[in-house]
């Protein structure tokens, strides 16, 4: 019986030699192709299906053999080449910006508001702490910052003399992006990482405001933050909310496993990170080019800050654009 089976296999394999050689050539071409015409794509699919059919047959005829291994490797090579996500077209970018990002933002709206409340609460706590125990400012500010404020100079307006605006913006954007991504990633620790980042930032903000207020520079600090602060702080809350949602997906998985639940939630929230990074780029540019210039008046700063914040709210609420134009009724 075994001999008969082997001879069947021999006959079958040798009968398909020509076909296999053609399939191998097609597979090699497809695996190295970055773009394909419709005909090429269809040919690749035919090759893939044929190879899989042959793999199934060879597995039956010669189970566990080297031939199975060779065919499986060729199929594996083609499998990844065939199963590619569609190219990002204008429509898919539009869908990402007009539908996916607002949907992700909407899914963490309550968490975002809760974390914003936590930010305000910790800022108030920071204000109280530094007002009641002024010496604690050394935990928040550097000795140079403290000395400057005590002599009536806010450190923020010296920034331009230390570095040109482009360099300043790049540094600010990098720092903010790291904070935002940290708030997102550390949310995976059951949300505690995100809470910590928000509370820490709130304490710092409140403490610095209290300290500058004691030395009559509170308004100056507010003036500095007016143009970029609304969006910057909102984005930090948003990223922390997304991180907390990740933590929640691990604590209370909605799917079969925690890993699967985390994967699903991460995929849903990934567009929000892109939005956060882009918004921070804008606020970094404002913070580098506009905020440190004392000549720019408060109303102008307020207009810029509120204008940018309104843009952010409109975008994240999905009111700025729609994913697709409705087809005309016939």
């Amino acid at each position: 019986m075994s001999t008969s089976r082997e001879s069947d296999a021999e006959i079958w394999v040798r009968a398909h030699a020509d076909e296999w050689q053609a399939l191998a050539a097609d597979a090699a071409a497809a695996a190295h192709r970055n773009q394909a015409s419709v005909d090429e794509a269809l040919q690749t699919l035919r090759t893939y299906r044929s190879l899989l059919r042959h793999l199934a047959t060879v597995r039956e005829l010669m189970p566990g053999g080297v031939l199975v291994n060779v065919l499986e490797r060729t199929c594996g090579q083609l499998h990844t080449a065939v199963n590619r996500p569609p190219r990002l077209t204008r429509a898919s970018w539009r869908r990402l910006f007009c539908t996916d990002i607002p949907a992700a933002a909407a899914s963490v709206r309550v968490l975002t508001l809760s974390l914003a409340a936590l930010l305000v609460a910790s800022a108030l706590a920071g204000w109280w702490l530094i007002s009641a125990f002024p010496r604690l400012i050394s935990l928040i500010a550097t000795p140079q910052m403290i000395a400057g404020v005590e002599h009536g100079h806010l450190w923020t307006y010296q920034m331009l003399s230390l570095a040109p605006p482009a360099m300043l913006s790049a540094g600010i954007v990098e720092n903010n992006v790291v904070v935002v991504l940290g708030a997102f990633c550390f949310g995976i620790l059951f949300g505690l990482g995100a809470f910590y980042i928000i509370a820490f930032n709130g304490l710092n903000i409140g403490g610095l405001l209290a300290f500058t207020h004691r030395h009559g520079l509170g308004l100056e600090l507010l003036k500095f933050t007016l143009a970029h602060g609304f969006v910057e702080l909102s984005v930090i809350c948003l990223a922390a909310a997304a991180g907390t949602a990740l933590g929640e997906s691990v604590i209370r998985p909605q799917l079969a496993s925690r890993a699967e639940s985390l994967r699903r939630r991460s995929a849903e929230l990934a567009p929000l990170l892109l939005a956060c990074a882009l918004l921070l780029l804008g606020s970094g540019l404002i913070e580098g080019f506009i905020s440190p210039r004392p000549a720019i008046s408060i109303p102008v700063r307020l207009a810029i800050g509120l204008g940018y914040w309104t843009f952010m709210l409109l975008w994240l609420s999905g009111r700025l654009c729609s994913a697709q134009r409705m087809p005309a009724a016939r």
Binding site: E6, A9, E10, V13, R14, A17, W20, Q21, A24, A25, A27, A28, A31, R49, L52, R53, L55, A56, M62, G65, V66, L67, N69, V70, E72, R73, T74, C75, G76, Q77, H79, T80, A81, N83, R84, P85, L88, A163, P164, A166, M167, A170, E174, V178, L181, G182, F184, C185, F186, I188, L246, A259, L262, R263, S266, A267, A270, P271, L273, L274
Partner: protein, 246 residues
């Protein structure tokens, strides 16, 4: 130790396995990419410094701008190399290509934009406290040899065989010129394909065992030390020999 594999189901329902890349392959790919991005960043800095000293620029305010631009470009190259390259190459950066590996989804598919963003964002945790310690530990402890970013993104790094179709092509070509049984041919073919990758101490006994099994006369112990001769004898089996059974 058995090879760790990722079982995936094809479009037609036929299952196949993809070999998972271990910490060694991952580290090799990472180090290659790291050297490339470091080199890229240094090239920008060097260009900026040289331009700054060039006649017509040196000593003028524009020299400072050139240096700043160089630093910004170097930082961008260093920090955005992996996310950008992973997205552009669809999960096959130069480092991964060199290590003969690529990023795939748990279905064995090419990962999309979202998965690649998530996998890169989580580098922030994976690289803690230094030198990717968290990522390395996770990679060693998880059955699919993945770091936290991969768990969140649903990706795996698998080893690729860029020469798989070439190997099938050669196997078929050899089947035309030999009268060995298909199974024997496949064994000889596999050994010859892996010949250069195998250590001499490993390939000689394999070749001897195979020759003893396939040839009518046992392999001559006197010539066993010469692996080139063993290879020649194996190749001779594939060239129009009379049919030899198993």
């Amino acid at each position: 130790m058995t090879e760790e594999t990722l079982r995936v189901k094809s479009l037609t329902g036929v299952e196949m396995t993809l070999p998972i890349a271990g910490p060694g392959t991952r580290s090799y790919a990472f180090l290659t990419d790291w050297m490339i991005r470091l080199l890229g960043a240094l090239v920008w800095l060097l260009l900026a410094v040289l331009l700054r000293l060039a006649p017509g620029i040196a000593g003028r305010p524009v020299a400072h701008t050139v240096l700043v631009a160089g630093i910004i470009l170097a930082l961008v190259t260093y920090f955005l190399y992996e996310p950008v390259l992973e997205i552009l190459t669809k999960g096959c950066t130069p480092g991964l290509r060199t290590a003969e590996a690529r990023i795939v989804t748990l279905d064995g598919m090419t990962p999309g934009l979202r998965a690649l963003i998530i996998r890169n964002v989580f580098r922030l945790i994976d690289c803690l406290p230094a030198f990717y310690v968290v990522g390395m530990i996770t990679c060693m402890l998880t059955p699919r040899r993945v770091r936290l970013g991969d768990i969140a993104a649903g990706t795996v790094i698998v080893r690729t065989d860029a020469h798989a179709s070439g190997s099938l092509d050669r196997l078929v070509a050899r089947s035309r010129t030999t009268r060995l049984s298909v199974e024997a041919l496949a064994l000889v073919h596999e050994l010859l394909e892996r010949w250069d990758a195998l250590e001499e101490a490993a390939r000689a006994p394999l070749a001897r065992a195979l020759l003893t099994k396939l040839e009518a006369a046992p392999a001559d112990p006197g010539s066993e030390a010469d692996t080139a001769a063993l290879r020649a004898r194996l190749e001779a089996l594939l060239v129009d020999e009379p049919r030899i059974g198993r």
